[in-house]
Amino acid sequence: MTAPNAEGLRLQVDMIKCVGHASCFELLPERVKLDEWGYPIIETDPLPTNLVAHARRAVAACPTLALRVDGKVARQR
């Protein structure tokens, strides 16, 4: 288990932009699960240091740019 990253970065999704393409699930299964309709369920706790780069890659791979990595929390589940 790696320690959480220093800047408190989290992976978050804009569910309006999200169309359930699920490339994020392919690239970061540690943090992304899919619901029965193919939409991502994202673990929004701060990312472990070793996953930050992978998370950024998932962000770049999203075809609708629905993902982001930042420290501000939009809302709690």
Binding site: A22, S23, E36, W37, G38, T64, L65
Partner: protein, 193 residues
């Protein structure tokens, strides 16, 4: 050493970049069609789309440079960017230039994608569907012996492939408009498992 001239380089790179751009268009269609398998996941196909397009652009750069540098044909550096002003086959040349301009726009906007308006990026990216036929017709019109033998045969195959891909895409969009619900999602999941 065989006698390779700039004309050979231009011809070869033009032809191969057309093949690579055809592959690019087809791979690009697979994205919104949500094609993916456990062995070829969607992020891989998306990566291939991107990398093949970049490779095609390298060859395209060689193509346009060789044509400008070659003193045998009166094509200037300006003709590479401004369409239809060339002294050499202005129409066919212009189509190629237009296609090249669009590709430059696609390249720049895609590199800057996180920073620009998403809808603008998307609408501009659709111009790829215009760009490809322009490039193909440019090749058929201006290419020496492009209208016979295997160059023609391959051009026809590429055209058929792109038409099939675009047809598939359009049909899916129309179908999605009509049904309101989650069949697309279920197909996604079926493909993933």
């Amino acid at each position: 050493m065989p006698d390779v001239s700039l004309w050979h380089v231009a011809r070869a790179t033009g032809f191969v970049s057309t093949l690579l751009f055809t592959a690019t268009v087809l791979l690009g269609i697979l994205g919104p069609m949500r094609v993916g398998t456990p062995g070829w996941p969607r992020f891989t196909l998306a990566g291939l789309h991107r990398n093949i397009s970049l490779l095609a652009m390298v060859l395209l750069a060689a193509h346009v440079v060789s044509v400008a540098v070659d003193t045998y044909v009166p094509i200037t550096w300006l003709d590479l960017f401004v369409p239809f002003v060339s002294a050499y086959h202005p129409l066919w040349m212009g189509l190629g230039t237009l296609s090249f301009d669009i590709i430059l726009a696609l390249l720049v906007t895609s590199l800057l994608r996180p920073r620009i308006n998403p809808r603008f990026w998307r609408v501009l990216h659709w111009s790829a569907y215009l760009c490809w036929p322009l490039a193909l017709v440019h090749g058929l019109g201006i290419g020496t012996d492009a209208l016979s033998g295997w160059p023609l045969g391959l051009s026809v195959l590429c055209t058929l492939a792109v038409l099939a891909g675009v047809g598939w895409r359009v049909a899916a969009t129309l179908a999605r408009r009509r049904t309101p619900s989650g069949d697309a999602r279920k197909t996604t999941l079926a493909r993933l498992s």
